[in-house]
């Protein structure tokens, strides 16, 4: 099939990005950041609390962890819901041992269905981050009712400062709608190791570097690596960032957890070992996303 000559025209071939969401910026050339207590690492643990409905449609695609068999897929439905009943409490205990408060990225459906779980997180002073309605309501270009979806999820969760879109899927308007709804920071984009300013219409959000790779489900279920390998990747990530912080200023070690993955009895020990490893090092500041962003913003 012939290609139009327009295919060799490049109207956005210019300095910086090919869109207006954020400025081009080189990580090692930025002003070094100093974390509270002169910490080298801000340790940001994010626990995703997800609900995959039994009648999942998978539009416009099925995210990692989705239901797979013909209806009714009790097997995957319950295996994911395990995270909200059992796994999350194991993760909570492991974190609490080191006095770590996490950020929980919560599907609004989880908050509606299990209000006692949300109370528990609040008691522990975890941060709640918006994580859409559920794992079958992805945000995507051409969808209808996105504005209502955002305001519903945001109001159910009680005006969260942070947001992670389900499956990190966005429409072209998602950041604008989030900013209008009062969200301050967005965790979907995986292009940086530090926060940066993100334009949303006439408002400014901040992008926060929630890791896409250092993620239990991505490593265990996406890559099919085992728990020992997960531990190696967690400690290797930490090692390099900790070293880099000595010369480049404070860094963020972001770990994304899914209680339906890491919360299994044979896996939770891996998280415990990783946390013990991190916390043995001097200069590690466990913090929530909002705390890290606030510390960063004060220095800009």
């Amino acid at each position: 099939m012939a290609i139009s000559d327009d295919y060799l025209k490049y109207p956005k071939r210019r300095y910086g990005m090919d869109h207006g969401r954020y400025d081009w910026s080189i990580l090692p050339k930025r002003k070094p950041v100093e974390w509270p207590g002169k910490a080298r690492i801000a340790l940001w643990i994010t626990v995703a609390l997800e609900w995959f409905p039994l009648d999942q449609q998978g539009k416009p695609f099925k995210p990692l962890g989705s239901l797979q068999t013909a209806y009714p897929d009790l097997r995957h439905y319950t295996l994911r819901d395990y995270g909200n009943r059992v796994g999350v409490f194991r993760a909570m205990k492991a974190l609490e041992k080191h006095g770590i408060r996490a950020s929980a990225a919560v599907n609004a459906a989880v908050a509606m269905r299990y209000p006692s779980l949300i109370e528990r997180l609040k008691e522990k002073r975890w941060e709640l981050i918006g994580h859409g309605l559920d794992m079958d309501h992805l945000h995507y270009e051409g969808m209808s009712g996105e504005k209502d979806l955002v305001s519903k999820a945001v109001s159910i969760l009680g005006k969260p400062r942070g947001w992670l879109s389900p499956a990190r899927s966005e429409s072209a308007q998602t950041p604008d709608l989030l900013a209008e709804a009062g969200v301050e920071y967005l965790c979907d984009w995986v292009n940086d190791d530090m926060p940066y300013e993100f334009k949303a219409g006439d408002r400014t959000l901040h992008a926060m570097p929630l890791s896409g790779d250092i993620d239990d489900a991505a490593i265990l279920l996406g890559m099919h690596h085992d728990e020992d390998e997960l531990l190696s990747q967690l400690t290797d990530q930490f090692y390099l960032l900790y070293e880099e912080a000595a010369t480049h200023g404070g860094r963020i070690m972001s770990v994304t957890l899914h209680p339906w993955a890491i919360g299994q009895p044979y896996r939770i020990g891996t998280l415990e070992r990783a946390l013990a490893h991190f916390m043995r090092h001097p200069g590690v500041w466990p913090a929530t996303g909002s705390e890290i962003l606030d510390a960063w913003r004060k220095q800009q």
């Binding site: 060799l8 300095y15 910026s25 990580l27 390099l240």
Partner: protein, 303 residues
Amino acid sequence: MKRDPGLYDYLPYDGRPKITWPDGARVAFWVAPNIEFYELDPPKNPARTAWARPVPDVLNYSYRDYGNRAGFWRMAEAMDRCGVRGSVSLNVAVCEHHPEVVAACVERGWELYSHGTYNTRYTFGMSEAQERELIQDSIDTIKRVSGQKLDGWLAPALTYTERTLDLVAEMGLTYVCDLFHDDQPGPVKVRKGRLASIPYSLEMNDAIAFNVSSVTPRHYGEIIRRQFDRLYEEGKESGTVMCIPLHPYLIGQPYRLKAFEDALAYIAGHDRVWLATGREIARHFLDNHFDSFVKASIPVGDL
């Protein structure tokens, strides 16, 4: 459509003319970082969709953007520490979008060669005039930003037409990285000019290892060592080539870098390894071995 690309004759590994590298090296070793720009919303090519998810594919776009913002700088410093230069497989639009990245390569004395204009503009379906325009863009842009003559080609996102290699040779390039049939350089049969195929290796490519084969970071370091050890051993008989193609968005991730750097230091620590660029390997092969390889090649029999 052809059943055989017609780009090379048969030349068995066993019993070929001997390749000798400078200073008695056994392996010509080169590292090829792919420095790329993927457009958020590229025009459609009927033969291939740019993104796995609907546009805007925020996750996959931003993952690649990480390479230029963060990963490249870490990768380049690791290569500096090992004394290894890069031969950059460059989407030339990076020269406009991120000139600092390109300048950092040029300052280090790295070679720039072409990987098309954007990694989201595919060659499939282009006319000869369009493809010439694409190649000329690379020749001109690389000359302008670095003063270097463009010598090498790795097709953008590995997309081709039947005439890609003919055009590349006619327009004065000396080598291509798109053929994976050998561990030594070889002649490419083109309608005009002399063109060398330089081994580039999809097996050692971090994108294939991590994104396709789900290799662990530490095992990636291990397979690099194994690949090198075997090619170093075989290089006693006749010089071999080892390439590590990289993507800063992958190898520049904190959890992956050290295992790679250790493997790179292992290779650079050997005596009889030639730390070369693609252009240098191609030049040496064209000047010293190309003709004997052509002569020894055996035409392929008909079915």
